[in-house]
Symmetry: C2
Subunit: 538 residues, 2 copies
């Protein structure tokens, strides 16, 4: 690399000299090795604030010194910045330290130090006999280039009825802060260290008790893993399943597309299970295993697609809304035992049943075959990224090992705070408050539809943060309804959007999925109006 | 599945009846279908509190009712628990709802409801003509089975000088809490939603300014990604590199084993780069690319092992302690440009240089080729899981996409709190305080060794939270030294432990890596004593 060549072609494209202060001296003044660069204003007080290499380069030291930096630091910053943004082009020869020191009225040694620092960082190049030059480097990054990140983006509109989000205004900020204060007051120093990949023991203890009490889960702190959202938990499970040879996972025919993305990203195939009024057709699992196993014996790749696990939402099928019937629960567990498989129970809104006590977690039927997954995304906030898995013995070690490869242990302060929130009873009170809130929302939705769109049927059990609206035969197609809604500022999704496989699309009348929990309280009536308006013309 | 069979072989192994209250009636009393189970104490006040199916089963309702639960809930819980823990074996026939209602002195309908609930959950089985029986399920989990999770475990001892951890007692709990309070007071509701996979914009803005000011990093909020520890960041980068066809990554010959684990877990090969006093031999990168590309042309798998990226610790090589020289920095960037590769700059302790102003980040040499990674693990605490990547344009989208598959967005409250900590100036003050603290620690270490173990040489620049101690030729082997230390309650590691490839082990005298930041203040002198004692006999 020739660092001392002068490269006129790389002259700065957009010199930043302030109008009126640029000088007319030729810009290669500093490159002829004469060291004759001079301050713009001679020996005036501003001399230390401005210096010029050639005609159009100015180093503004004054502002930096005023901000409290020392002269050495100010010169270093100014020079580095000038090189970085292209005002000092690669190859430009700098004045000698003596000349620049005189120019700026500072000690020569200070300049020598600055040159040394910037040379060590790679900005300048120093070579015996040819002085100090600007090192060769990339062209400056054009300002204003933008990078688009679309992952995780969701559509927005005036009225937001997209399912999957709680009313964020309910987040109990002061209770959370109070719990954080108490948690931080008593946490041992070691809590701030890298910790167990299972998460903080305080939270695992609190959750083991809470889940046993509220959801009938049979686990203990050694089998609980705190993860950053159920999606991360699912990714860890997927990795563990892959490792034990699982090639595919059975999923409900309707479900969360991001969950399927996570499974697919881990290299797992998906086998959709049909749904009916009793939930997923887990009675078909045995057949799937047998049928695929019994296929052409030479087709190893095909046998590999037999499901090694089934992902279910037993408390409240998402999004169609059925509770998984007892015989379907039993069938899933029986299948898992017979085929050395696992049931993954996504209890995403197990706390939110309005009409009766919710069914207990299916995990308790066989803690060695059912993974229980829960989350604080609906009960507190998605942004907390707090979820948990109650793991069968056989999965604890591999899932923890994959966790250790990812984010190691999860954020400790949130975990300690959540433990305190549960132990203090604040979490129970908050969940109760939310349940009443969402129940009222659902009642308002059902009443409004009964009055203003009686042709629409609300299906599924009285639970959760969303409802499925079945439209009568002959209604507009789902896609058209969604598009019309968005045009009017109303964001919601079709039932079809959740379909695992478009080929499974049933020949049924259109349906919409409405997240009645999503809008903040003040915006709910208007969102309801917009929805009824849409449905009136559906 | 035959649910009504009686299965004597599965009788409960450890009935939980309280001593003195167990009855001598035959235990199959409830199985003969007579429905003749009776309360233990007849019509006495305790009648509603205790009931027995057969001889040794008791449902304790009294305690539950006292705790405030309704009678229905109390019965349901008691029955469910009895089934779960095996006291009611699969196949056991339950008394009729009428009989049990009378027994307990409660309405028959209440019992019907409870049976219905437990049947729906899968605990009981109801069949026309054969009454209600306990459903078939797994044998109860034996109590006390333990699961061992070794991932993330670190050795412990009386004196902890294991490198890689800050003094956890320095964590600024009250400053953090104050920032959390302010952040929670002003955060918009949407902050608690699923967010950008890059992390909260408030923190990305604060960090972009901070990193430019303190480390000379050239980035902006759209190119910064907040991750849960640098290890997660490295995993995301590894996935993005794999996707673009990278088969291997060049790593420093000595480095953090967990980082290499993360790269390997992503399917990347590792190519170790030798180290010398100027840091990693990045001048060899061109040769590696050429040599391997020029190999047998048929060997596709072999060409795939050419490094597509190089992982470096330029500010302070971990653990050997050199600062990467200017020409080595330039060589790495030049290599990345020539081969469409990337430099990953792990700036794990860039804030902690004691003897002079630290070198600016190498990322600024070419933000389109160098990924800058930093962390709050040393400056605040590892348990926060807060780190960041400044990404080249070409990596923003893929890394964000893989992030969205993992933990989506990271915990929002910590991110908002850290942003406030930076913006308020509290973070700068804290880092300065830590720098003084650790510098003092290092000075004490160096002074103690000079006095009490003058044959030991402390190598590397005056920076960071650890030091490398070079022992004279003829000393005991590293493994023996570490074992002797552990026997004396002193935890530290050998330099060899960090070696990327045992085959690279140099024929050099032994060396130890000492984390002088690790012990809390009060424990440091004793740890230093233990170390000097060890070295005296080395």
């Amino acid at each position: 690399m020739s660092r001392s060549r002068t490269t006129p072609g790389t002259a700065p494209s957009a010199p930043r000299s302030a109008p009126g202060t640029s000088r007319s001296a030729p810009r290669d003044r500093s490159r002829d090795g004469s060291g004759s660069s001079r301050a713009a204003d001679g020996g005036a007080p501003a001399a230390a604030a401005w210096t010029a290499f050639g005609g159009d380069l100015h180093l503004d030291l004054g502002g930096r010194r005023a901000a409290g930096a020392g002269l050495r630091a100010a010169l270093e910053d100014a020079l580095r910045e000038a090189v970085q943004d292209g005002r000092l082009a690669p190859g430009t020869r700098l004045p000698s330290s003596r000349a620049l020191g005189q120019d700026l009225g500072i000690a020569r040694n200070t300049v020598v130090e600055v040159y040394g620092q910037l040379t060590a960082e790679g900005w300048l190049s120093s070579r015996q006999g040819s002085g100090t030059t600007v090192a060769e480097r990339a062209a400056p990054r054009p300002a204003g280039r933008t990078v688009e990140v679309r992952a995780g983006l969701r559509p927005t509109g005036r009225h937001d009825l997209l399912a999957g989000r709680p009313d964020l205004s309910l987040f109990p900020r002061s209770a959370w802060l109070a719990s954080a204060r108490r948690a931080l007051a008593v946490a041992p120093h070691e809590a701030f260290d890298y910790g167990s990949p299972l998460g903080r023991i305080e939270l695992r203890r609190a959750l083991a008790d809470y889940l046993a009490r509220v959801r009938g889960v049979r686990t203990d702190p050694e089998r609980l893993l705190i993860c950053a959202g159920l999606r991360q938990g699912l990714g860890l499970l997927a990795a563990a399943l892959r490792e034990r040879g699982t090639g595919a996972v059975a999923v409900e025919a309707y479900g969360l597309p991001p969950q399927r993305d996570t499974l697919r990203a881990a290299g797992l195939g998906l086998v959709p299970l049909p749904l009916d009024g009793s939930g997923a057709r887990t009675d078909l699992l045995d057949g799937l295993s047998a049928e695929r196993a019994g296929g052409r014996t030479g087709a190893g790749a095909r046998a590999d697609r037999r499901p090694g696990a089934v992902l279910l939402t037993p408390a409240h099928q998402f999004p169609t809304g059925a509770a998984l019937a007892a015989d379907r629960r039993a069938a899933a567990v029986r299948w898992a035992r017979a085929h050395d498989g696992y049931v993954i129970e996504d209890d995403y809104d197990g706390e939110f049943r309005y009409d009766r006590q919710p069914l207990g977690a299916m995990q308790a039927l066989d803690p060695d075959r059912v993974v229980y997954g829960g989350t604080a995304a609906k009960s507190l906030a998605p942004g907390l990224r707090l979820a948990w898995l109650a793991l069968p013995d056989g999965l604890v070690e591999p899932v923890a090992r994959f966790r250790a490869l990812a984010d190691t242990t999860g954020p400790v302060i949130d975990q300690l705070t959540f433990a305190e929130l549960i132990d203090s009873g604040r979490y129970d009170r908050h969940v109760r408050r939310c349940r009443l809130h969402y129940r009222r929302r659902r009642d308002l939705l059902v009443a409004a539809l009964a009055e203003r769109a009686p042709h629409v049927r609300v299906t599924g059990i009285a639970a959760g943060l969303h409802a499925v609206l079945q439209l009568p035969p002959g209604s507009r197609p789902e896609a058209e309804l969604v598009a019309r809604a968005r045009a009017g500022g109303l964001v919601l999704s079709s039932l079809g959007w959740y379909l695992a496989d478009p080929a499974l699309a049933p020949d049924a009348p259109p349906a919409l999925v409405v997240g009645h929990a999503t809008p903040p309280e003040h915006a709910f009536p208007a969102a309801l109006d917009a929805l009824c308006e849409l449905l009136r013309e559906a």
